[in-house]
Symmetry: C2
Subunit: 82 residues, 2 copies
């Protein structure tokens, strides 16, 4: 299954609890699009959040994020990993 | 140890072999700065590369990348992870 890294900007001040809640919201419905969100990393100071997922398409990743209220600003396929 | 996500742009067309070589070059000297590069993900089409590391500082991450010839465009501490 292809992997994707999506990026959210403008998340300055995000807390551990907010990141966890957003991730749990995604996990709760991700199966409906065949997506799995593996990890997310956040920098509260610059307001950037990175999410790593496996999914059938970038559009499927975005549909889950949109439904849970946090549309990604970028969704990149990352076919290469080391 | 703090975690960091650094981002490289303008890497369009990067191959699996080039990503692996760059990662191995970093691993070869990372210990001199107390850094450990855990994973890297690349999108050859948009030319973006993400590197996840543990390090004492963003400057330490950047020093390793600079010495191996691929300075990062952004280095973000990512204190929050889920």
């Amino acid at each position: 299954m292809p992997k994707f890294m999506d990026v959210h900007h403008n998340m300055k001040g995000i807390t551990r609890e907010q990141l966890l809640q957003a991730h749990q919201d995604d996990l709760a419905i991700e199966g409906e699009e065949g997506v799995h969100f593996e990890s997310a990393w956040a920098d509260p100071d610059s307001g950037v959040v990175y999410c790593l997922s496996e999914a059938p398409s970038a559009e499927a990743v975005q549909r889950i994020h949109q439904r849970t209220g946090h549309k990604a600003d970028e969704v990149h396929p990352v076919p290469l990993q080391v």
